[in-house]
Amino acid sequence: MTQSPQTTPISPEPPPRRSWAGRSRLQSAQEFVVPPLIFVCALITVLTTVGIVFVLGLETVRFFRVAGIGLFEFLGGATLNPKADPPRYGILPLLWGTFVIAFGSSLIALPIGLLSAIFLSEYAPRGLRAVLKPALELLAGIPTIVYGYLALLLVTPVLKAVLEPAIRVEFYNALSACIVVGVMIIPMVSSLSEDVLSAVPRGLREAAYGLGATKFEVATRVVLPAGLSGVLASFLLAISRAVGETMAVLLAAGVKPQIVLNPLRSVETMTAYIVNVMKGEAAVGSAEHLSLYAVGMALFAITLAMNIVSGIILKHFREEYE
């Protein structure tokens, strides 16, 4: 797209210089001020990460010093009771509670989310999809406190009404939390997986249809395997969201750190523990108060690891179909 010089007649004399005065002072100031300014903005995002790691690391070290326990005792301890004498700071009950919620909610969210992603990317006509996608985002934008409230208001009473005659259902119980957290992350699973499935090249679908495959076969045996790594990455992101979820589990599962298999009993997650310590009257600087940072560090490390792995998988997926 080059402009040929012949078509524009060259004026015999150059225009007078003064009509082309240089840039105003304000403008050249902008040229110099803006780049460093927005670089600082970008730097703030980096500083946030540095701040998180620094704060958590520093306070975690202080916790180990003040509480006088070792790393092994913290990571391997099966009892968590800061009020006991001597206080016990084992994180295993919190890890267990977090795992139960993440696992249970995945059982609900992953299959439903994936099926709905397949519907959106393979079956839904364009018009319907244009309505459903924003609706999903709307659903994903509902604050988690609302889901927590729903657990108290509806899910737990219904569980009690259905199961109580046979087995005792505690007011705060893991199952109720699994249900609301699962429902909460369905839109996330389906939206992320749908992005991945839509990115599977059309050529693969056409090749399969050209061989006489039905839509079902194309969806489950060509598109899904081709997008599998991306779908797994989206699963990982959703599970990490369930791990980091606070309000819904706080309201539904309670704050009782115990390792129990029965999902109808109360458990405590890492997030709920952090809020609970904060709401309690532990003095700033005491071992109990500092323990929230150590738990926060563990939570941060777990979710970060999941997010990084998911990011790497997604990157490879995108490269594969570039």
Partner: protein
């Protein structure tokens, strides 16, 4: 004519068709589960909000609506109280609106700036990749971790009493700003990426500097996209509860904050507190609070979704043009030597208006040669 080998194929069309239909139905049901959840959720909350007396019969819709309106306006205009008949969310609503304002003032400039740097200025290389990865990971950090960060950095200032914000509204606003920052950055980047390169090239070819190109052409055409992402980020901020519990949003605040240096509470925090109170009547108050919160969120999301439609984009660029004529950025643009400004500021016939108007002269130039 068909092949002899056809006998070797048993396509079992009937079975496969049934299987396909069953699977499609399953997928549809999974998709609709979201709608079901929404209906159940809203229904349960509504019923609970209407549980307080007076209790007109369920079929008296008009009366129910009147009761709901009266209930909502009562809880919106009264502050916290130990008496559920009198308790309301005035302090929380005003606190949340303050938070919203401050987060918008902090997170939007910083987030858009960071997005601009990454897309337009950062040299491709290790630094840019590192910042990019960092932002992607920040977006996945649990909100409670931001709460811990805010607690140490803002509320306590690492123990420097002079700088500590304590339980001021500032602490909550700064914490939430960091929380939504990655969302704003990512939305900005996506919007900037959608601006066609031809627009940049056309302006650069006229002798504009990089900043002039961005200020007069790139930012205006990316603005609808940035706005959409920003609104979604703000609606995330207004619903967050956990980080605010860490940085001092207290439940026992009776008076709305008078300014950003006052003590504060927020709507979702108050909902949480009412929901955990033992008396059943407070649950109804909490339900009312949820309706108010969802109402605010829904209207914000509706604006964001509207801005994404072609009509919305046109309306947005028209509004931007109006602002420009009022002498905001457009007055400078009108005089700017790039000469493209008028073409960009005047909304084009379609969503890609600015692009088509700018690209055309270049195309014709190519055709002539």
């Amino acid at each position: 004519m068909s092949r002899a080998s056809d006998a070797l194929y048993r396509p079992r069309r009937g079975l496969r068709r049934a299987l396909g239909a069953g699977f499609a139905g399953l997928c549809l049901a999974a998709t609709l589960s979201g709608v079901v959840v929404l209906v159940v959720l809203l229904g349960a909350v509504l019923v609970k909000a209407l549980a307080l007396p007076p209790n007109p019969p369920w079929f008296a819709v008009g009366e129910q609506l009147r009761e709901l309106a009266a209930f909502l306006s009562r809880i919106a205009s009264s502050t916290n109280s130990p008496n559920p008949e009198l308790a309301g969310f005035k302090a929380g609503i005003i606190g949340s609106l303050w938070l919203l304002l401050l987060v918008a003032l902090i997170a939007i400039p910083v987030g858009v700036g960071a997005g601009l740097y990454l897309e337009e200025y950062a040299p491709a290389g290790r630094l840019r990749r590192a910042i990019q990865t960092n932002i992607a990971n920040l977006a996945g950090v649990p909100s409670i971790v931001y709460g811990i960060l805010g607690l140490v950095v803002f509320s306590r200032a690492f123990g420097f009493q002079a700088l500590a914000l304590g339980k001021m509204l500032w602490a909550g606003a700064l914490t939430l700003s960091l929380l939504v920052l990655p969302i704003v950055v990512i939305a900005t980047q996506e919007a900037l990426r959608a601006v066609p390169p031809s627009l940049r090239q056309a302006a650069l070819a006229l002798g504009a500097t990089r900043w002039q190109v961005i200020r007069d052409h790139v930012l205006p055409s990316a603005l609808p996209g940035i706005l959409t992402g920003t609104i979604l980020a703000l609606s995330r901020a207004i619903g967050e509860t956990a980080p605010l519990l860490m940085v001092g949003a207290a439940n026992s605040i009776l008076f709305p904050p008078s300014g950003p240096s006052d003590y504060y509470t927020a709507l979702p925090v108050e909902i949480y507190n009412f929901a955990t109170l033992p008396r059943e009547e407070f649950r109804s108050v909490a339900a009312g609070g949820i309706l108010i919160l969802l109402g605010i969120l829904l209207s914000m999301n509706a604006v964001a979704i509207f801005l994404r439609t072609p009509t919305g984009q046109r309306a947005a660029s028209r509004a931007i043009a109006q602002l420009g004529r009022l002498g905001w950025s457009g007055r400078r643009a009108g005089r700017s030597r790039t000469g493209l400004a008028s073409a960009v500021v005047v909304p084009g016939p379609g969503a890609s208006g600015p692009d088509s108007e700018v690209a055309q002269p270049t195309d014709q130039g190519g055709a002539e040669s």
